[in-house]
């Protein structure tokens, strides 16, 4: 019986009609393709994109140069140098992230005792040469300054799970 069924299916183009039916269904269904960059997909507040360095409300940078992020970074993408600032506090003199090395695991953010290094929702950054993706401290701080409202909102949303 099965064999006869198969036999008729082969020359009655049953598979073709089945496939066309699926195509037809999608033709009339609601579209889910996002028209990037005009349209964007929704993001989680835990999205791990471009890094940023944050400041406190009074403008003081948060980073204290404890180097935990450097130590935990599995890709060895972070390079930090530290010195004592004139006011006696411990501050970084160099804080670089090589984004070509970074694997966006988020360990740096997780290890940071003062929430200084964070990963933002930004993912569409680019560079024209490799060197452009080597982010230095002023660049990271600039990212943080620009997106602080969003960053703070995301941390607040995540705080109850931490």
């Amino acid at each position: 019986m099965e064999k006869i069924k198969e036999f008729f299916k082969t020359f009655l183009l049953f598979e073709l009609l089945k496939g066309m039916a699926l195509t037809g269904r999608y033709m009339f269904a609601r579209k889910i393709t996002v028209q990037f960059p005009e349209e964007k997909t929704p993001q989680s507040f835990r999205f791990r994109g471009l890094h940023a360095q944050r400041r406190y409300a009074n403008g003081e940078e948060r980073c204290i140069g404890c180097k935990l992020c450097e130590a935990v970074c599995p890709a060895l993408a972070i390079k930090i140098e530290v010195a004592e600032r004139e006011d006696g506090t411990r501050r970084t003199t160099q804080y670089d992230i090589d984004l070509t090395k970074c694997i966006f695991c988020g360990f740096c953010e997780e290890s940071c005792p003062v929430d200084a290094i964070v990963e933002t929702r930004i993912f569409e950054y680019h560079g024209e040469s490799r060197g452009d993706l080597y982010y230095t401290k002023p660049m990271l701080l600039a990212v943080g300054d620009k997106h602080e409202t969003q960053i703070a909102k995301d941390r607040a949303a995540d705080s109850k799970y931490r």
């Binding site: 140069g65 404890c66 180097k67 935990l68 530290v82 010195a83 006696g88 005792p113 003062v114």
Partner: protein, 781 residues
């Protein structure tokens, strides 16, 4: 021996030892903060509480004597509860600033909090804040709030350093570690408090915030400073020495190092480092490559050897150089036909040359110092010249030994001294003769005829009586005695004194490789080609000088004479890690690597050869001196200069000898002669080499140079002398020696003997003066 059970393990331990000792033997770890094996027991941190069966409450393991049949549980419910409770209390006031703390990652509190602490704090009230205090340039107390009052630093000061510079003021929550009002911690061993501090309350100021502990790689090395040869661990980051900590070696430095060993690393990274070979051309310094520089040196030496004779070439090296460097230097010189090589730069009496049984050494193992019960220390600025050997003598004195001093200055040794005889330099020999005569009387032995005529004073009798009553007598000759113009005679008398009381005598080695330099043959009377000693080389100026790590204006017995010899020479080749005064008179500067950048060997004062490897790469174009000398040997066609490694040099120089029979202090063939030439009217110079001016490296250690010990030296005079001159402490005076004079401030020091004036040597402020011993005049400026 008593038997005790710890966590089910049976251990045998000595009568009188504690539960902590027994646990250590059993391999059971008991958490602790205030306990330290080298310090007294204070039992104030309570971290080591353990349960002892039949005791109603937990007991502190560090302070509970072990008793027969005792059963101890370190992990029982009661013990764990007690430990957790203590930990919680300790953390109440401890700030949560581990991320910025220099101790983070190597902190005992951090580790033990991980193992024994709770996960969260129940303490929500305000934490205690302790204001930071300034206690000097080496130790940072900026975060005294971190202190857990273990008092290790206080006990270290009292017990090891000999002076309580830190103390705990106030009680309970107000208790604070502080120094006396407005005073700093000036001990030459103070850096050890940083190691002892179990938290980050006392941290190293020069190291502050430069690295985290996990970024450092640890490489073993040996101290290039005093004669002890302390074992060091160089902590390296990015090919730079970031700090230095001790490596425990009970036979040498125990678990301590002096501040000189610890903080001198700053000199390794000094901006004064020489980075490329330089040649002076038409009065201007030009940086060149190694090949033309070495070519230039070889040609120059060849020319001088050809025209004036090889005996016009001389080499001076500091005893801070490695064995390999010194061995190749003397081999090179002898290879080109000159025996003028010497490392004894500050020595002035060479009458025992070739008559000593072997290399002058300590005469006993370093560890035996602790076992001696009578000391006679002759001519030594003990604390400043030998910080850790002084510490050993201090420990011996604590155990009941008695120290006697014969010296020209009465510096505080921070230990009880039984008898001392403080005399002018030219009376030292006479004083020793008196001691010997009195001792001979005490022991009913024959008095050597040469000293029979001396009149014995009370001080000498007291010293002799004291020595005679000892079982283990150690007679030690310090740097001052070795530099004395009658050094050989002093050594002869010391030998006789030691012999009369069946004791041992020896030299407190001036530098890391004093013994090694002798064994390497860097002396004019060793080997087949003999030559001039350090003093002769300068008194009869040579045409060419090779200087290995030497800064003649600071390192020589007579800097004035040394400088005029350098200026008159046709060619001065300076092998140095630093640009220095040599820019004035040298023709070639060759950048050589300091101890951290080369492999080598130091033979310490007890004859212990300690080899080390380079911890970091040589800076820029600097090269290890043994390689430089090797290439020079090749260029000058000296045979046997085909070494591939420094180990090969060491094997050739040290391998064939067993060190024991190459060490020997006995001087034979020199007659005792205690007559002292009267050298005219004036004040006799007593000169020490300040602790932080003693070698090229410490001179460039920025933080050490800011300490009180590195201050510009004063002229010290006793009160009556000052009255005569009509000057007061703080006045400027002109000090003249021969035709040279310098202006310094004067300071009163009533312990100086009459007729003596103390003016430090080895310091730029006094470099213009003449010999370390001699007649000086002081007048109001």
């Amino acid at each position: 021996m008593i038997n005790i059970e710890i966590d089910g393990k049976l251990v045998e331990t000595e009568q009188g030892s504690t539960v902590m000792d027994a646990a250590h033997k059993a391999g059971v770890y008991i958490p602790h903060f205030c306990y330290h094996k080298k310090l007294s027991i204070s039992a104030n941190c309570r971290m080591c509480l353990v349960e002892v069966e039949k005791a109603p409450k937990p007991l502190p393991a560090c302070a509970t004597p072990a008793a027969e049949g005792m059963k101890v549980h370190t992990h029982s419910e009661l013990a764990v509860k007690a430990q957790k409770g203590v930990m919680e209390f300790l953390l109440i006031n401890h700030p949560l600033d581990c991320p910025i703390c220099d101790q983070g990652g190597e902190c005992e509190l951090q580790d033990i909090a991980m193992g024994y602490g709770g996960g969260e704090s129940r303490y929500a009230e305000e934490k205690r804040v302790v204001n930071p205090k300034q206690i000097g340039e080496l130790i940072s107390t900026n975060e005294m709030s971190r202190c857990i009052q273990c008092t290790r630093c206080v006990r270290f000061g009292q017990e090891i350093a000999g002076i309580m510079e830190l103390g705990m003021a106030n009680r309970t929550e107000h208790a604070q570690i502080m120094s006396f009002v407005n005073s700093s911690v000036d001990s030459e061993l103070s850096g050890n408090m940083i190691d002892l501090c179990p938290v980050g309350a006392l941290t190293s100021k020069p190291f502050r915030y430069t690295a985290r502990s996990w970024e450092l790689s640890r490489r073993k090395s040996v101290s290039p400073h005093d004669g002890l040869g302390s074992n060091l661990a160089l902590h390296v980051k990015d090919n730079k020495v970031a700090r230095v900590v001790p490596v425990e070696n009970e036979a040498v430095n125990e678990c301590w190092i002096s501040d000189k060993d610890r903080f001198s690393y700053e000199g390794l990274n000094s901006p004064e480092r020489l980075t490329r070979p330089m040649i002076k051309q038409d009065g201007k310094w030009v940086e060149v490559d190694w090949a033309p520089a070495l070519e230039y040196v070889a040609n120059g030496l060849r020319q001088i050897a050809g025209s004036a004779g090889a005996e016009h070439i001389a080499a001076l090296a500091t005893p801070h150089s490695t064995f390999e460097e010194l061995y190749l230097l003397q081999k090179l010189l002898r290879g080109i036909g000159s025996g003028n090589v010497d490392y004894r730069l500050r020595q002035s009496d060479f009458s025992a040359d070739g008559k000593q049984a072997g290399a002058p050494w300590l005469g006993m193992p370093v560890a035996d110092i602790n076992a001696a019960d009578r000391f006679l220390v002759i001519g030594s600025f003990l604390r400043k010249d030998h910080p850790l050997l002084a510490q050993r003598i201090r420990q011996a004195v604590k155990q009941g030994a008695q120290a006697n001093i014969v010296h020209a200055a009465d510096d505080d040794l921070l230990m009880p001294v039984a008898n001392k005889s403080i005399v002018a330099p030219d009376e030292m020999l006479n004083t020793l003769a008196q001691v010997l005569k009195a001792l001979a009387a005490e022991k009913q032995a024959a008095v050597p005829a040469e000293i029979a005529a001396v009149t014995v004073g009370d001080a000498a009798i007291a010293i002799a009586k004291n020595l005679a009553s000892g079982q283990q007598v150690a007679v030690l000759l310090g740097n001052f005695a070795q530099q004395h113009p009658q050094a050989a005679q002093i050594a002869l008398l010391a030998e006789q004194i030691a012999a009369l009381c069946a004791g041992r005598y020896g030299y407190l080695g001036e530098a890391a490789n004093s013994v090694g330099a002798y064994l390497a043959g860097a002396v004019p009377f060793a080997g087949d080609v003999q030559g001039m000693n350090a003093a002769q080389m300068l008194a009869e100026p040579r045409k060419a000088y090779l200087l290995l790590n030497v800064e003649p204006e600071l390192d020589m017995h007579n800097p004035q004479q040394a400088m005029s010899a350098m200026r008159a020479a046709d060619m001065v080749v300076v092998m140095s890690a630093y640009k220095h005064h040599a820019m004035d008179y040298a023709d070639v500067l060759l950048p050589v690597a300091p101890f951290s950048e080369t492999s080598g060997t130091f033979v310490n004062t007890e004859g212990r050869a300690q080899s080390f490897k380079g911890a970091v790469k040589p800076l820029a174009e600097a090269r290890p001196a043994w390689k430089v000398l090797r290439v020079l040997g090749n260029l000058l066609d000296v045979s046997g200069f085909d070494y591939d490694t420094s180990e090969a040099v060491r094997a050739e120089g040290l391998h064939t000898l067993s060190l024991d029979d190459k060490l020997g202090n006995r001087i034979s063939g020199v007659a005792i002669n205690i007559a002292t030439e009267s050298n005219g009217a004036g004040l006799q110079r007593v000169s020490d080499v300040p602790i932080y001016s003693a070698d090229a490296l410490v001179r460039r250690a920025a933080s050490l140079q800011k300490t009180h010990d590195a201050a510009v030296p004063c002229v010290m005079l006793n009160g009556s002398q000052m009255q005569k001159l009509g000057v007061e402490s703080g006045d400027a005076v002109k000090v003249s020696q021969g035709d040279a004079s310098v202006q310094l401030t004067v300071q009163k020091n009533d312990s100086l003997p009459q007729g003596a004036v103390r003016v430090a040597a080895g310091h730029p402020a006094t470099a213009a003066l003449g010999a370390m011993f001699g007649i000086m005049s002081v007048e109001r400026a």
